[in-house]
């Protein structure tokens, strides 16, 4: 498994962003030929399709961004006034005065980082035990971990709510974080990665007298960084966007993360004041989009890794 090829190559034709390591051998000539020998009509249709797709995705986002800079009067007019004239930052300042916006940001950071760290650590050590340690019942334990993927959160929510409420953990960070910390997908992903490592290297390290933890840190992990980064990124994105559980657990800004906080903003008055609400959604989308912009290949790799091979 030559994972390193995806990251850091800029060549458009040779390396597609996703799933590069599972491409069969073939020359780029063979694959890329199709668009050409179908003639100019196809090429034109192809570009038209691309433009259409970009419009459908980008125009709503652009509209939201523009709205967040409009004065109140410019939002509620017909026909719509597209450009903010003049652009104003008042929605953003109103946002921070009407709701404790930075408290939500802080909560999001706390919940996302704690849950992600827990998941990454648990995922790595579980995967290590399930791939490189020998013990009876290994395949059954693996099945128990993996089958958790099939259980929708929404079905466990009622009983978990009761349990956490009984512990007095509603509106606490541990009440949000601990029930989310079990990791099934990440264990699966890292286990596949560890199993793909060359057995000779692991055997050699064992013969050299490397203990199991040293083996993990010094041999296994250094060869698995790309997969770990992919796993870490999709975990961070998922936890940042997590909605249902924190929504049930938090009543106010002491623990509510940003997506839940936005819902409170929406609730504030009968008629939605769209300006600050759009400013809030822009600020909620921005950090993840920036992260995505820089690390999309690794993110996509994490998502496609489990999918294509099966």
């Amino acid at each position: 498994m030559s994972t390193s090829t995806i990251v850091g190559t800029r060549d458009d034709e040779q390396v597609p962003p996703a799933g590069g390591q599972r491409r069969r051998r073939r020359t780029s000539h063979q694959v890329e030929a199709s668009a050409h020998h179908r003639g100019p009509m196809w090429t034109v249709a192809g570009y038209a399709g691309m433009v259409l797709v970009v419009l459908v995705i980008a125009v709503p986002l652009f509209w939201i961004l523009l709205t967040s800079f409009k004065e109140r009067g410019d939002i509620y007019v017909r026909p719509a006034q597209w450009w903010p004239d003049p652009p104003t930052g008042q929605n953003y300042s109103e946002l921070t005065t009407r709701i404790p916006f930075f408290d939500y940001v802080r909560n999001s950071v706390i919940i996302t980082s704690a849950t992600s760290v827990a998941k990454i650590v648990l995922g790595v050590i579980s995967a290590y035990a399930l791939s490189l340690l020998r013990f009876p019942g290994r395949s059954i334990v693996f099945l128990v971990v993996i089958a958790a993927l099939m259980v929708p959160n929404q079905i466990t929510v009622i009983s978990n709510y009761a349990l956490v409420a009984q512990l007095g953990w509603r509106n606490t960070f541990q009440g949000i974080i601990i029930p989310l910390a079990g990791v099934a997908f990440g264990t699966f992903l890292m286990r596949n990665q560890f199993l793909s490592l060359p057995g000779e290297i692991i055997e050699a390290a064992r013969l050299d007298g490397a203990g199991p933890m040293k083996l993990l840190w010094r041999v296994v992990m250094p060869m698995s960084w790309p997969t770990l980064v992919a796993f870490a990124l999709i975990t961070v994105v998922n936890e940042w966007n997590e909605y249902l559980w924190p929504f049930l657990m938090s009543d106010d800004e002491t623990t509510a993360p940003l997506p839940v906080g936005l819902t409170f903003l929406q609730n504030n008055d009968g008629v939605t004041n769209w300006g600050p609400v759009m400013a809030g959604t822009v600020l909620a989308m921005l950090p993840i989009l920036v992260l995505f912009l820089f690390l999309q290949r690794q993110m996509i790799k994490g998502l496609t890794a489990g999918a294509v091979k099966s």
């Binding site: 668009a35 709503p60 017909r78 466990t156 929510v157 909605y243 959604t281 989308m285 995505f292 996509i300």
Partner: protein, 320 residues
């Protein structure tokens, strides 16, 4: 832990368990005592979390579905099958099941078809395709709640983007807020818009792993583009299609954030209420946790049945 419904047995936390084992790994030396205890130590935290917060509530949910529990009281009285009888007999059940079906079939079907189409398009050698790939995938990483709130304004029948675009071609905007059919349409479109990037990216990865030479050979043999698509490409993509049909189905059935922020299950009471949303509403809004648990159990059984059918279907397809 008692025996679970889905999986044969849940292993007990102390996984130093019983020796008789017939697992796939070849039975070399089965490890030493320290290796067993290290494995137990490394696995225990994760297993405990999964058992306590995934498997235990799954079973507990079934127990609760036979009670009249109200989520806050310490007492839950057994009521036998009456929740189930109520669910099957109630008028709103029909509407909610229909909403769930429409939403799920539309989101799964459209996002898979369009995702495949886009993957085929952006697998071609076109300039700027990498930027377009990123653009298509970007909404998938954004919070569903944020997108739901933003799209509520996009669909605003008075001052929204959709109204403005429709007005330019002289069409009046439907009332996405008040008409149940259009509200369901709005929620469905928003969900597809957000999640299209996932099916796209998975199909693209699969396309890049396909055997181009088969396609070339078929073309030399004079097969039309359509025949090559159906007879050469689709069979190669079958495992991906299968994988997506399950994962996309599971995630669309579970959608909560978009519905909660956009419509709260309305308009007219249950215009966009799906089974998952009903679970939430009955349990936490109407404080009928027993009934909510019933809906959750029904939903789980349906999901399990659908998945089993999908797996069967896949197996049969493989042999054919």
């Amino acid at each position: 832990m008692q025996s679970s419904v889905t999986q044969p047995q849940s292993a007990t936390p102390g996984s130093g368990g019983p020796p008789p084992e017939v697992g796939p790994p070849p039975r070399r030396s089965s490890g030493r005592a320290w290796e067993w205890s290290l494995a137990a130590l490394l696995l225990l935290p994760n297993l405990v979390l999964l058992i306590v917060f995934t498997y235990r509530p799954l079973l507990d949910n079934i127990r609760l579905s036979f009670t009249d529990w109200n989520i806050s009281s310490p007492i839950a009285n057994p009521v036998g099958l009456s929740n189930y009888i109520e669910w099957f007999g109630r008028d709103d059940t029909k509407i909610i099941v229909r909403n769930t079906l429409v939403f799920t079939v539309a989101t799964v079907g459209i996002s898979m078809a369009v995702g495949l189409g886009l993957a085929l398009l952006l697998d071609q050698k076109l300039k700027g395709r990498n930027i377009v790939r990123s653009v298509v995938f970007a909404p998938f990483v954004i919070s569903g709640a944020a997108i739901g709130i933003a799209f509520q304004f996009v669909f605003d029948p008075q001052f929204g983007l959709v109204r403005d675009l429709l007005a330019r071609i002289g069409v009046a905007s439907p009332d996405f807020y008040q008409q149940p059919g259009w509200a369901l349409f709005m929620v469905t479109v928003t969900y597809i818009w957000k999640n299209l990037g996932y099916t796209f990216v998975i199909y693209l990865a699969a396309l890049q792993g396909r055997r181009a030479d088969l396609d070339e050979a078929a073309e030399i043999d004079g097969a039309t583009a359509w025949t090559r698509f159906r007879r050469v490409l689709m069979p190669q993509l079958r495992p991906t299609t299968f994988f997506l049909s399950i994962t996309v189905l599971l995630s669309s059935v579970q959608v909560f954030d978009i519905i909660n922020v956009m419509t709260r299950g309305g308009p007219q009471g249950n215009g966009t209420t799906t089974l998952v949303y009903q679970v939430y509403q009955e349990t936490f809004v109407n404080q009928r946790a027993g009934y909510g648990a019933t809906v959750a159990t029904v939903m789980f059984v349906i999901l399990l049945a659908v998945t089993v059918v999908q797996v069967r279907f896949m197996d049969r397809g493989k042999q054919a």
